[in-house]
């Protein structure tokens, strides 16, 4: 388990923070029912380490009610992107925390109902008045009851009350797109109540999460920050020997490697099971290993205890080439930026080499193989704000892609390949089913993205209700499978004669197959039918969107300052091999 720095180290670093190299910005507000000093400094430092410029607002001690209920409060003036609200069990239960059995079962139920409603109401008021996401921590279930071993016999006892409180909140708020429920109870379980709650600090300064644990809590909150900013990792690249199984294929052979029913083998099976679960949720897996391809692929295909199968991997680099070169090739083949890749390798020299050569890749520090699973599970880099249908299908899509690449090698000529792919593009309106995915694509598409404007779900909803905007997405299929919704555009109908393309993006999975031209030409054709004369667009250059750089000029747009214009009377080139519906 990784060990955090001291709080005092963060406090000092916070004083030295400079935002010179920051690439992203975020505004974070913290509201709590007790002393949370040090949390905002730690979050700012952790953001700084990720090149995020973070500004914070910390509400006064136990001021969360006033801050939320008063429309003119500092909280609303600050206008945060995300707001953390932590209320502790003691302050909510008050005297009942000590002896809930001083009142009747009915009164306890009524009490919990009233408190749940208060908190639910407060959360709803807040998210209705701001653009901020709310991250609401749940209540920690007390481990002590005055009824001790009889606690479980009591109807709606102390622990039941807190569980009910958490459940009511989850039922009411769990599906709200602007609210995330943070599992503070699990945080305390993970580190232990006796460690997290320090009585001396509590009596001394109403500190309910000990100073030693503030950095761990901040780290947990960083998972939300990274998700909101779309900094989540998409792909895990793995070494093989002593990473996916114990031992070395070249020396120990098929029979000799450890994978299965011995202490070392069990650790690797467990690690593989955790990787499989992430893969099924949409995290891409790939192999980067110095080995004989034939020997190792035989293990992947035939070893009875391999949990991960050949089809779980989107890409293989099993050869004697340089691992850094392999990594660059994997990034290119999968069309996934190096900064979206996590690298697992047991060899510290390989790790050092990767870290130095490709610092964008997150190379994970590993120690003993028994800790691999724990290390993987303690990472907060795979968090996504929402897991969509596309995510759970992603692994299959990358597998299809691998087969597509093999097919392309077989066909040779690109035009012939595209013709034989039988691509079909289905245009869909933004609606309740597609809005989460549309927002997700705007948040994370970096390469084929003309303007890289990031929109949360609420933004997209607002656009949909605006009759001067057109928000649509495209589902792309071909003979190898369904790529899902992988294209988005947002048009501002500025007036009768001019439309402006606010957003036009395509997931890297489907880039370069004529889909981009097909989408743009159908937009222009529709505009023309409505009498629109000019289509305007912008290319806003970023570090990553080079693939979209020449798209507008190649299509026939002409540049006028920073605006690109297409006169709809001009003929449109569109790929004939695509079917649009």
């Amino acid at each position: 388990m990784f060990s955090e720095e001291k709080l005092s180290t963060y406090l000092n670093r916070a004083k030295l923070l400079s935002n010179v190299n920051s690439e992203k910005k975020i505004k974070v507000a913290i509201l709590g029912s007790f002393t949370l000093n040090g949390l905002e400094e730690t979050i700012r430092v952790k953001c700084g380490n990720k090149k995020i410029q973070c500004s914070t607002y910390v509400a006064g001690y136990n001021q969360y009610n006033q801050e939320i209920l008063n429309e003119k409060s500092g909280l609303y003036k600050f206008s945060s992107d995300m707001t953390f609200l932590i209320i502790d069990t003691r302050s909510v239960l008050n005297k009942l925390f000590f002896n809930p059995y001083s009142i009747s079962v009915e009164d306890r139920k009524q009490f919990v109902k009233t408190k749940s409603d208060e908190i639910i109401n407060l959360a709803k008021i807040f998210v209705n008045q701001t653009k901020s996401k709310l991250i609401l921590s749940n209540f920690v279930i007390p481990t002590y009851s005055p009824y001790e071993i009889n606690e479980a016999r009591e109807e709606f006892g102390l622990q039941d009350m807190v569980r009910a409180l958490n459940q009511n909140i989850k039922t009411e708020l769990g599906h709200d797109p602007k609210i995330y429920l943070h599992d503070l109870n699990s945080f305390v379980t993970k580190f232990g109540e006796n460690n997290v709650f320090d009585y001396k600090q509590f009596f001394y300064g109403d500190i309910k999460i000990s100073l030693n644990h503030i950095p761990y809590l901040a780290e947990e909150f960083m998972g939300y920050v990274k998700a909101v900013l779309g900094l989540n990792k998409k792909c895990i690249v793995l070494d093989l020997d002593n990473t996916l199984w114990g031992g070395i294929v070249g020396e120990d052979g098929f029979e000799g490697i450890k994978l299965g029913d011995d202490p070392i083998g069990r650790a690797f099976v467990d690690f593989q099971r955790n990787l499989l679960a992430l893969n099924q949720r949409g995290i891409i897996l790939a192999i980067n290993s110095k080995n004989n391809f034939d020997d190792t692929i035989e293990i992947i295909r035939k070893h009875p205890n391999m949990i991960l199968k050949e089809d779980n991997f989107a890409c293989f680099r099993i050869n004697w080439n340089d691992k850094v070169v392999n990594m660059e090739e994997i990034s290119e083949e999968l069309n996934i930026g190096l900064d979206s890749i996590v690298f697992f390798d047991d060899d510290p020299i390989n790790r050092y080499y990767m870290k130095t050569a490709l610092p964008q890749v997150l190379t994970v520090e590993l120690s003993d193989s028994s800790s691999y699973s724990q290390t993987l599970k303690s990472m907060n880099d795979f968090q996504m704000l929402k897991i969509t249908n596309e995510d759970t299908k992603r692994s299959k899509m990358y597998l299809d892609q691998r087969k597509r690449t093999e097919f392309q090698k077989h066909v040779g000529n690109l035009q012939d390949f595209l013709k034989q792919l039988n691509i079909s593009v289905k245009i869909k309106k933004a609606d309740e089913y597609t809005i989460p995915r549309i927002s997700q694509l705007t948040l994370k598409t970096n390469q084929f993205n003309l303007t890289t404007r990031r929109y949360q779900e609420e933004d997209i909803r607002k656009f949909v209700s605006d009759e001067n905007k057109l928000v649509e997405c495209a589902q792309i299929q071909d003979k190898f499978g369904d790529n899902g919704i992988t294209g988005v555009y947002i048009i501002n109908k500025e007036n009768q004669e001019e439309w402006l393309i606010d957003t036009f993006l395509l997931s890297c999975r489907v880039m370069g197959r004529g889909v981009e031209e097909a989408l743009l030409s159908q937009i222009i054709e529709r505009a023309k039918m409505k009498g629109v004369k000019k289509i305007k667009a912008r290319y806003i250059k970023t570090k990553k969107n080079k693939p979209a750089e020449n798209f507008l000029s190649n299509f026939g747009f002409t540049q006028n300052g920073d605006i690109w214009i297409f006169e709809t009377k001009k003929p449109i080139k569109k790929p004939e091999y695509l079917v649009i519906s």
Partner: protein, 79 residues
């Protein structure tokens, strides 16, 4: 050990070691607010591997008080 104490204070309060003496405390050092005091207590307890009682904690107002309490817990500051 006196040096170690001064180093911790210097780090937590973000001041030079040369600025610290036995009378240094909340009155003479502006960074020495109540929160930094908790942080300081926490770091000193950790690094000297001792636990102050709540009463002892409340008696500490300055560096000299820290020394007294540390000696009481068997830390030899003259080493």
């Amino acid at each position: 050990m006196s040096k170690k104490l001064f180093e911790i204070i210097s780090r937590v309060m973000n001041i030079q070691i040369s600025q610290i003496n036995d009378d240094s405390g909340s009155e003479s050092i502006k960074e020495w607010d109540s929160f930094n005091m908790y942080v300081l207590l926490n770091d000193i307890e950790k690094e000297f591997n001792i636990k102050f009682s709540l009463e002892e904690t409340l008696e500490i107002k300055n560096v000299g008080d820290f020394k007294k309490q540390l000696e009481k817990h068997g830390v030899n500051l003259n080493e």
